[in-house]
């Protein structure tokens, strides 16, 4: 029986119709093989548009549908569902794109119309070869894994745990809290960071539904949405968490010192250490690289002094395997190391600090116990704050780090408040970006406190007569300035974690050009990724301040919960299939399959696909020398016909000759406005 194909060409308001003569394309499609009905309409994705397709399927008995509109990444599902509502198998529909790949990128209307015709012809040819396919429902495991326990990971874990689902929370450092635990105050409310984050951290440690694992890293992830198998590597802590009471006696007696990472290199810690007195968990960790007992078998004082006998020098790293339904990535950000920007003298001059170092100077449990002092112990009389160090800079990061303007304002206030109102504070900024709730008001307040704002990125910092001189241009006054100060703070850019590429590989998510994890859609899918069941939370997706990170994390948690609550997920049927009548049993595909989804049936001497594990990548189909392996929905007949359709009209492509220029001009008079 011949196919009965319906073709639907969308105007998308003027988005497509502005360039492509949709009526002409629909008319052209009417003449193609087996096309029963062909229509153009203003918005195919609208209710009346979908109803039109459904009505036609029923009325004309269509058994194939082609929709030419936007990218299939946007609306393929919409039209598949419309077909399903009309009783047509959704895989008998082909969605082709004449907007992103045609009307929006082609300058000439005639050429655009011609290209659209090729695209539609290819879809009509291809759809004739489509076969009915049925999705599979698989079970979603109820547990969720959250990776990273900064404020985003904490929020996501608490949200998920509250619903009754178990969360496995993995944190690579010895305690949770992330960067927020390093801060002193938070803008614009000047809440103390510890006061608002500590209750959340404690809640995590006390929540029975959260399995908190610190000093641990995810080593391997396998499986698919609903059924991920995650291997977690526990690093040796050398302190037994079950026994330790967190009394801290060991911390005082340990004789070995090291630079403190948590204090951003401006303070010291012991070989046995915890990040702060409020650390959660309060169990310390021994740095196995410098501990004298572990490296040289000397000392051992912590073991002698520990009242509960929690010290165990024999601990080895060990692995644990979890089966979870979905994963929330909350791995956060790093701050850029400003050492390569030699003009600012970081690392060369003692009194040039990064923003995080200054946070630690401010923090009551930091190296100076919260006093803003220079290395010589005196308070600075003048401070310069340099914004956008590494941000909005084509040599480093083009993007804006979004938080620096605001924390710089916070520092302005704190310096005035702690050091004294006669302290001079100079901000060197490009633009002040105070976009959040209460931010502009805070900017106003700080301005009124007598802080100086100089518009212009400084050229360099030099040392003259014991002072640091910031050399730059005030672009508003149009004059060069030289500002001598005692202390300089560099507002360094937020950037992707140092090991982001490795983490992206483990979890199978992509990175954007800026290095951060790539979301599914920049506007409408900011928490999901291209990998089903892996969601993003917080600054691992891009620079965020605390309120944004927290709301993003709640979004990620909601997505993970939606999967877990439903308990099943439908899996695309577009897997591979090996035709047993053709397979010669060469076994090449078995080795090629990246998911070990092909088994060899010794009795029949053929390779067989395990559909539960196959993801439809087509490694086997791309190679199979006998053509036995084919991907459903992307089989060779379909691709061949699509190629034929795309090349159909032209032995030689001469657009202007083949189509009347004036006929292709389309009137956009009755088109409603741009829906985007």
């Amino acid at each position: 029986m011949a196919n009965r194909i319906g073709v639907y060409v969308c105007h998308c308001g003027s988005n497509i119709a502005g360039k492509v003569n949709c009526e002409d394309v629909a008319g052209f499609a009417r003449g193609l093989k087996d096309v029963t009905v062909s229509r153009d309409y203003q918005f195919m994705c609208s209710d009346p548009g979908q109803e039109m397709i459904i009505k036609d399927i029923r009325e004309y008995g269509l058994n194939r549908v082609v929709v030419a509109s936007c990218s299939p990444r946007l609306h393929e599902k919409t039209f598949q569902q419309a077909c399903a509502r009309a009783g047509l198998n959704p895989y008998l529909m082909q969605h082709c794109c004449i907007r992103e790949h045609c009307s929006w990128t082609t300058e000439d209307p005639v050429e655009a119309t011609l290209k659209a015709k090729h695209i539609v012809e290819a879809a009509v040819e291809r759809v004739a070869e489509h076969q009915k396919l049925f999705s599979r429902e698989v079970e979603v495991l109820p547990d969720v894994m959250v990776v990273g326990a900064g404020i985003a990971g904490i929020q996501a874990s608490l949200d998920i745990a509250k619903s009754g689902h178990t969360v496995h929370l993995v944190e690579k450092s010895p305690s949770i809290g992330g960067h927020m635990a390093q801060f002193d105050k938070t803008f614009p409310t000047l809440d103390c960071a510890a006061c608002i984050s500590t209750p959340k951290m404690v809640a995590v440690s006390q929540e029975p539904n959260i399995n908190l694992m610190t000093w641990a890293e995810v080593e391997d992830v396998s499986g698919f949405v609903g059924n991920y198998t995650v291997t977690v590597k526990h690093k040796p802590r050398y302190v037994n968490e079950a026994v330790c009471t967190g009394c801290g006696a060991c911390l005082e007696k340990c004789p070995t010192k090291a630079i403190s990472e948590f204090n951003e290199g401006i303070g010291f810690r012991k070989a046995i250490y915890r990040n702060s007195p409020q650390a959660v968990p309060s169990t310390p960790v021994i740095d196995g690289d410098i501990c004298k007992k572990i490296t040289k078998d000397k000392c051992g004082i912590c073991q002698k002094i520990c009242p509960t006998g929690a010290i165990d020098y024999e601990q080895k790293e060990w692995r644990e395997v979890f089966h979870v339904g979905s994963i929330v990535l909350a791995t956060g950000y790093d701050t850029m190391d400003p050492t390569p920007m030699r003009e600012y003298g970081y690392g060369k001059y003692d009194e040039v600090y990064t923003a995080l170092q200054f946070e630690r100077l401010n923090n009551a449990v930091g190296p100076t116990e919260g006093r803003i002092v220079m290395k010589n112990g005196e308070s600075p009389k003048s401070v310069a704050i340099i914004h956008c160090v590494g941000s909005r800079d084509t040599n480093y990061h083009e993007y804006c780090s979004r938080t620096c303007c605001m924390y710089a304002l916070k520092y302005d206030h704190l310096i005035k408040d702690k050091v004294g109102h006669d302290t001079k504070v100079y901000n060197f900024y490009i633009d002040m970006r105070c976009f959040g709730k209460g931010y502009e008001e805070f900017f106003k307040r700080v301005q009124e406190e007598g802080v100086t704002f100089i518009r212009g990125r400084p050229a360099e910092i030099v040392q003259e007569d014991g002072k640091l001189v910031v050399v730059g241009e005030d672009t508003l006054l149009g004059m060069n300035v030289r500002v001598p100060v005692d202390m300089v703070i560099l507002c360094t850019a937020m950037e992707a974690q140092k090991d982001v590429t490795e983490v992206a590989r483990i979890f199978g998510v992509a990175q954007g050009q800026d290095g951060f994890f790539l979301e599914e859609h920049p506007k409408l899918g900011p928490v999901s990724t291209a990998t089903d069941g892996v969601f993003l939370a917080g600054a691992c997706q891009g620079p965020k301040d605390i309120p944004d990170a927290v709301s993003h994390a709640s979004g990620g948690a909601a997505q993970a919960l939606a999967l877990a609550a439903k308990g099943t997920v439908s899996i695309s049927p577009t897997t591979s299939w090996i035709n047993p009548d053709i397979c010669v049993g060469c076994k090449v595909c078995v080795g090629l399959c990246p998911y070990s989804a092909i088994e060899f049936d010794d009795r029949r001497n053929i390779a067989v696909i395990n559909e539960a594990m196959c993801k439809g990548c087509g490694s086997c189909a791309g190679y199979c020398p006998s053509g036995a392996a084919q991907i459903k929905h992307f089989n060779e007949n379909q691709i061949f016909d699509e190629i034929d359709g795309l090349l159909g009209m032209m032995p030689n492509y001469l657009p202007r000759e083949m189509d009347g220029g004036e006929a292709a001009q389309v009137s956009t008079d009755n088109q409603p406005g741009d829906p985007a």
């Binding site: 990218s71 299939p72 990444r73 946007l74 794109c97 907007r99 992103e100 790949h101 045609c102 929006w104 990128t105 082609t106 000439d108 050429e111 655009a112 011609l114 290209k115 090729h118 695209i119 290819a122 590429t501 992206a504 590989r505 199978g508 992509a510 990175q511 954007g512 050009q513 790539l518 291209a530 990998t531 577009t574 090629l592 990246p594 998911y595 439809g616 990548c617 087509g618 490694s619 189909a621 791309g622 190679y623 991907i631 992307f634 060779e636 691709i639 061949f640 699509e642 190629i643 034929d644 795309l646 090349l647 032209m650 032995p651 030689n652 492509y653 001469l654 657009p655 202007r656 000759e657």
Partner: protein
């Protein structure tokens, strides 16, 4: 002017990176010459060389295969497989009178809309330089 040679080019692009980049190029209204027509594949690893040969024999003057950057493949390593296949194919094609350069493999990541537009425009220009593919009329296959 209008009789100047305009090449016909087919592009086999992977759904996750280059197709997404093409969408982004469209959304960002990055103008491209209209000569390239795309076939959406799930992965460049499923691009059987016979699709490329078939395209060349059926009227394409050039074929572009484009996928995720090395290491970024949505399916772990499909793009490496594509790289091997295209390399081998490029060694064989000249024996049939099909010049080097008619089949090209590129990596365009999902966020690289500008890169996609540039790749397309450059490849079209390269093929325009090469001229029409006359091997197909002489091919013995």
């Amino acid at each position: 002017m209008s009789h100047e040679f305009e090449p016909t080019i087919l592009a086999f692009v992977c759904n996750w990176c280059t197709f997404t980049a093409a969408d982004l190029a469209g959304t960002s209204r990055m103008v491209q010459q209209p000569n390239v027509r795309m076939v959406r594949m799930m992965c460049t690893g499923m691009v059987d060389p016979k699709y490329i040969v078939k395209s060349l024999l059926s009227g394409a003057d050039g074929v572009l295969v484009s996928g995720c950057h090395p290491g970024d493949c949505h399916y772990i390593n499909g793009n490496y497989k594509a790289r091997r296949r295209v390399k081998l194919l490029n060694e064989i094609l000249p024996q049939f009178g099909i010049e080097q350069g008619r089949v090209k493999l590129t990596w365009v990541g999902a966020s690289e809309g500008n890169e996609f537009a540039a790749t397309v425009n450059n490849f079209i220009n390269e093929i325009r330089e090469l001229g029409p593919m006359d091997a197909r009329t002489m091919a013995v296959v």
